[in-house]
Symmetry: C2
Subunit: 398 residues, 2 copies
């Protein structure tokens, strides 16, 4: 009888459970499915649960639910713990290991595969892609990203709309997004922008160096022109090559966050205007209302495809979404070597998307799927220009 | 010919434009409608626009759009500026003034009314209620609140769901809501909670005194019991009677915010666990996807009712939502004296809702309107209890 172990690792997304359900649905009847609890930690600590009967119903009921129903989490792998993980699988005679995750998860899966080989234990390993940051190599995009991008673009549009009405009280809003070292999520903030006047007026991504001097000058110009500025910044952005702003380091992993607060402070110190920073927070990766239908469909499909790979006996591979360069939205699922994914490392925004965001938005729009209501244009009028003259004097930073 | 001036004041909500459209739709044909730009500032600075023809179409196209399409904002009224505002209306021969706003707006409208009377200028004044904080007197609730409450309850449920999966990485999340001195929005966070185990596990409102000692002890107990804690705190909460945490003071108005960061620091200093705080931010008052259908309907209706009051010649009144205490959801619109609203001041959470939240939730549920998907229950299992034992030691704060 086929026995498999499946786990979810890294930060959850709003569609990672859809991938799990897609995977389980694709397995042959009678497969013994072991759920690995809390990511790699469960594998190392031998915390697996046989999921059957009502347990399977329970699992399937999470298709549309955010979070990771098996428990996910982060766990620092050591050579000893890898060996232990292989032995735990061996104890149960499980020869198939499947993980849903991002870069770290795929690298760990590759290590598991190598360790098993060196221990002469036959182990089939398959990765299912997942990340809100979209920094996973070997795939056009990863499930989870489109829903997070949809959240960011809707939020930034509405927060900017709100600011339009409050220009006599506050002039600058800085909105921080997730993304780690990549600007995919931050750049998505501009997807619904319809005119120059509307926010976001500036998007800062880690791929483009930023100096404090240039930043302040740009903010000044934007507020002079519009009476307000909505600025979006990715958590991984740094000023003048400084190190990234971190909340704290947990289990060896830096939790980024705080660059928007730094920008707020900088503007307050150097310019006489009211500024507010905010972090879009965990909602980016879990807000159920923001889920892109297309994203959820693809999340399910990559899971289903992984089940097919199990049956075909493929190993050391990750399911990849390959997009066809034709009109409309077409893609097919293919396997890529885990080794290739692990070696390529973080996937950053390509230069062409940074220099020509319109190309990026036409790529992104298809992933967002369902139609989003367009807002009427802002009414630019005389009185509005008067308001700008009410703005305090600007002082260039020295 | 009837001439009226209408404005929007204070922080926008996601349905304040629906009230404006409801009002305009209810006016007799041929009414000359002057839009007051940017709240009371436009009235004092004589910045009014005659809205007609395509301008009216443009205005009506905002029925489902967040923000305040005439411009809103905050403006500190002085006796001189009130006189100036009356003179500006007189110059155009406008005898009807309507504002959509909260406590401050109603108090200002009352002052306008008194000033006009003392200047022997006939002025009809009508207020349309609006606030996300729900701290407005004289009405069961104010449009804007239900949509914000819907945002808070959905967000807290999903962020808590995400934390369930990450307990081996982080244990505490503190989520800050709007609300100023009232706990209406924070308490809404528990609306979708289905079991003790699920978040939110603690809700702190300004109406209930809180000591650091007690707070830390409760967090410790919650994490011991559940392996995690989702804590919701209203921006107006203080520890041990301290003053409220402010971002900054703009035009004499304190912008609250930061208590969640203080709580995060406190936990990090006193307990060996990972904690993250976040502020739900401006999305609470502008996220279009979170709008409650019922709220938008009522926002439109109170606007429409105000137009009826104009025709009836009523003055010095605010439209109020009066709820019938019968099964199901029934309400009627009535007028209340502006003076009554202004004198009653901020409306805080009543004691019965604090001691019996279930009563509050059955009151709130009707306002949220549309059905929200229920999530499957969390699977409480042995391995989960093991995980709790992995938690670091807790130290009671001294």
């Amino acid at each position: 009888m086929l026995k498999i172990a499946v786990g979810q690792a890294g930060g959850p997304t709003s569609v990672i459970n859809a991938s799990l359900v897609g995977f389980v649905d694709g397995l042959p009847d009678q497969t013994q499915i072991y759920g690995i609890m809390n990511g790699y930690q469960g594998l190392v600590e031998n915390d697996l649960e046989l999921i059957e009967g009502s347990g399977l119903d329970w699992l399937r009921s999470h298709k549309n639910v955010p979070g990771a129903c098996l428990g996910s989490g982060r766990y620092p792998f050591t050579p000893d713990s890898i060996t232990k993980a292989v032995l735990n699988l061996k104890e149960r005679d499980i020869h198939t290991l499947v993980f849903i995750g991002g870069n770290g998860t795929m690298a760990a899966l590759q290590k598991m595969s190598e360790a098993a080989a060196s221990m002469n234990y036959e182990l089939q390993t398959i990765g299912i892609p997942k990340t809100v940051d979209n920094d996973l190599s070997g795939t056009d995009h990863a499930p989870g990203y489109a829903s997070a991008a949809r959240y960011v673009s809707l939020s930034v549009r509405d927060i900017s709309k709100d600011l339009e009405a409050m220009r006599n009280f506050e002039q600058v809003r800085i909105i921080e997004t997730m993304g780690r070292n990549a600007g995919w999520l931050a750049l998505a903030a501009g997807l619904l922008k319809q005119s120059e006047f509307e926010g976001p007026h500036m998007i800062c991504v880690p791929e483009v160096p930023l100096s404090k001097e240039r930043f302040l000058a740009q903010v000044q110009d934007i507020v002079k022109e519009n009476g307000m500025a909505t600025i979006v910044v990715s958590e991984g952005v740094t000023f003048d090559g400084d190190s990234q702003v971190q909340r704290e380091v947990v289990k060896g992993r830096a939790v980024l966050g705080g660059i928007s607060t730094e920008m707020e402070r900088l503007i307050r110190m150097n310019m006489g205007m009211t500024v507010r920073s905010e972090n879009l927070g965990m909602n980016q990766r879990c807000a159920v209302w923001a889920i892109s239908d297309q994203d959820r469909t693809e999340a399910y499909e990559v899971g289903n495809e992984a089940a097919l790979y199990v049956k075909k006996g493929m190993s050391n591979v990750m399911v990849s979404i390959q997009r066809n360069q034709v009109i409309g939205y077409n893609y097919k699922l293919k396997s890529v070597a885990l080794e290739h994914v692990a070696n390529d490392g973080e996937r950053l925004l390509p230069q062409e998307y940074i220099s020509r965001p319109a190309e990026f938005y036409s790529w992104l729009e298809q992933l967002i799927g369902d139609r989003i209501m367009r807002y009427p244009p802002m009414w630019r009028r005389r009185a509005f220009d008067d308001l700008i003259q009410h703005q305090p004097e600007f002082r260039r930073s020295q």
